[in-house]
């Protein structure tokens, strides 16, 4: 093979290939997610799916009700965004538009897997066109499909998406994944309470922190109530109490 070809220097600035066949801009987008100092976790149980993320209010003057990383995309599909919050809002808005268009065109609500695919395909376009950079966010998407049951997907800046039994994103992603792999090794059948417990415990364990109900956000869908909803502070407190009592 010839000596290392001159890359014209732009392979780090826009999404063209580097000599090794890598896309630096996409890799840097992933870095932006780890730098966000937030970690989110998603867990799929037997008949429910749960997403949990940290709620950090850096300044006492901020209105805490406006600080959120959990978003509803359709009545039945929700997501947690990890990374640059501005990019997150852009992607959420787009996802909502796609979902609404689907509902208008086809007469029924878009299933979680199709919305995840649509978001991932849009992310792929940003990795191939020079005029737009990849977004610095990972979207963990949950929904309840009446044919396939609870669904959990993650869409990343590379345009990659896949279904998960459990996943994580953000600063402590790898530690969370290790923790989840261990706990799910025996392929246990998780009830709704167990699913929430596992998600919250994973976050507590990797961040070495005991949360107060106001320090985390939780989003759920269950078979009995397939509408996506975020738990109130009181409900979160209930679950935290149960976890404490278990110890």
């Amino acid at each position: 093979m010839s000596s290392r070809g001159s890359s014209a220097g732009y392979d780090r600035h826009i999404t063209i290939f580097s000599p090794e066949g890598r896309l630096y801009q996409v890799e840097y987008a992933f870095k932006a997610i780890s730098n966000s100092n937030m970690t989110s976790v998603g867990v799929r149980g037997q008949d429910s799916v749960v997403i949990v993320t940290q709620k950090k209010i850096p300044d006492k003057l901020l209105d805490p009700s406006t600080v959120t990383h959990v978003f509803q995309l359709t009545p039945y599909v929700g997501c947690v965004m990890t990374g640059l919050i501005a990019d997150a809002r852009a992607q959420v808005t787009r996802a909502r538009q796609e979902a609404a268009e689907f509902r208008y065109k086809f007469g029924y609500e878009i299933p979680a897997d199709m919305l995840a695919k649509r978001v991932a395909n849009i992310n792929q376009v940003y990795t191939q066109r020079a005029e737009m950079r990849p977004l610095g966010v990972s979207m963990i998407l949950i929904g309840y499909d009446d044919e396939r049951g609870p669904q959990l997907f993650k869409c990343d800046p590379a345009g990659y998406y896949v279904g998960y039994k459990a996943t994580a994103a953000g600063a402590k992603q790898q530690e969370s994944l290790n923790h989840l792999e261990k706990k799910l090794k025996k392929d246990p059948s998780l009830s709704f309470e167990d699913t929430i417990e596992l998600a919250i415990n994973t976050l507590s364990s990797v961040l070495s922190a005991d949360f107060k109900a106001t320090e985390i956000e939780v989003g759920v869908v269950t078979r009995d109530d397939p509408k996506f909803r975020t738990l109130s502070v009181a409900e979160i407190d209930e679950h935290l109490q149960r976890i404490v009592e278990k110890d």
Binding site: S2, G5, S6, S7, Y10, I14, T15, I16, F17, S18, P19, E20, G21, R22, L23, R44, D113, K117, A120, N121, N123, Q124, T127, Q128, R129, A130, E131, M132, L152, F153, A158, G159, Y160, V162, G163, Y164, K165, A166, T167, L177, L180, E181, L184, K185
Partner: protein, 215 residues
């Protein structure tokens, strides 16, 4: 939203090479190995389905895909880029059917896909696709066919081929094992053996994907 770059990003180097295409081929060479074998009565395509974590739900990942009832496709390289090409291939097949009321012969569809890939090596503001494709099809006129399409947009018909990480060893293995009288059953068996050659770890029914046409 997009003010298009009006100039191509894939340009000739002083030595007359299109380096972006070569780099794209490097991206393919880092991808998981895929195999294709043409038999007398059909074609088989197969790939490794290595998921990075046991937490991944591997039933949600589709690497060997259907383009239309007589054509299947598998890739090595960047998954997201493959999804785009798969969409285009499916659309092209349906467009053909609308005009001629039958699904396209394999070589016609391959031409379509290849011309899309070529477009992205010349058009302004885009990079080439980071995938190589193995397209397998069967039609009544020409029988079984196996094509490989590269990021440059060039394509060849093969009797048996491999793309991705382990392609050199796999092709050597195939050269030894291939014979013109092979039937589909033998071809499937050979493709599994070929994948096994380069497989790291335990190969189970969940860690490979196989597609067949014909038989």
């Amino acid at each position: 939203m997009s003010d298009r770059y009006s100039f191509s990003l894939t340009t000739f180097s002083p030595t007359g090479k299109l380096v972006q295409i070569e780099y794209a081929l490097n991206a393919v060479a880092q991808g998981v190995t895929s195999i294709g074998i043409k038999a007398t009565n059909g074609v088989v395509i197969a790939t490794e389905k290595k998921t990075a974590s046991p937490l991944i739900d591997d039933s949600s990942l589709e690497k060997v895909a259907n383009v239309c009832p007589n054509i299947g496709i598998v890739y090595s390289g960047m998954g997201p880029d493959f999804r785009v090409l798969l969409s285009r291939a499916r659309k092209a097949a349906q467009k053909y059917k609308r005009v001629y009321n039958e699904y396209p012969p394999t070589n016609i569809l391959v031409k379509e896909v290849a011309s899309v890939m070529q477009e992205f090596t010349q058009r302004g503001g885009v990079r080439p696709f980071g995938v190589s494709l193995l397209i397998a099809g069967y039609d009544d006129n020409t029988g079984p066919a196996l094509y490989q399409v590269d990021p440059s947009g060039s394509y060849w018909a093969w009797k048996a081929s491999a793309i991705g990480k382990n392609m050199v060893n796999a092709k050597t293995f195939l050269e030894k094992r291939y014979n013109e009288e092979m039937e589909l059953e033998d071809a499937v068996h050979t493709s599994i053996l070929t994948l096994k050659e380069g497989f790291e770890g335990q190969m189970t029914e969940n860690s490979i994907e196989i597609g067949i046409i014909g038989g």
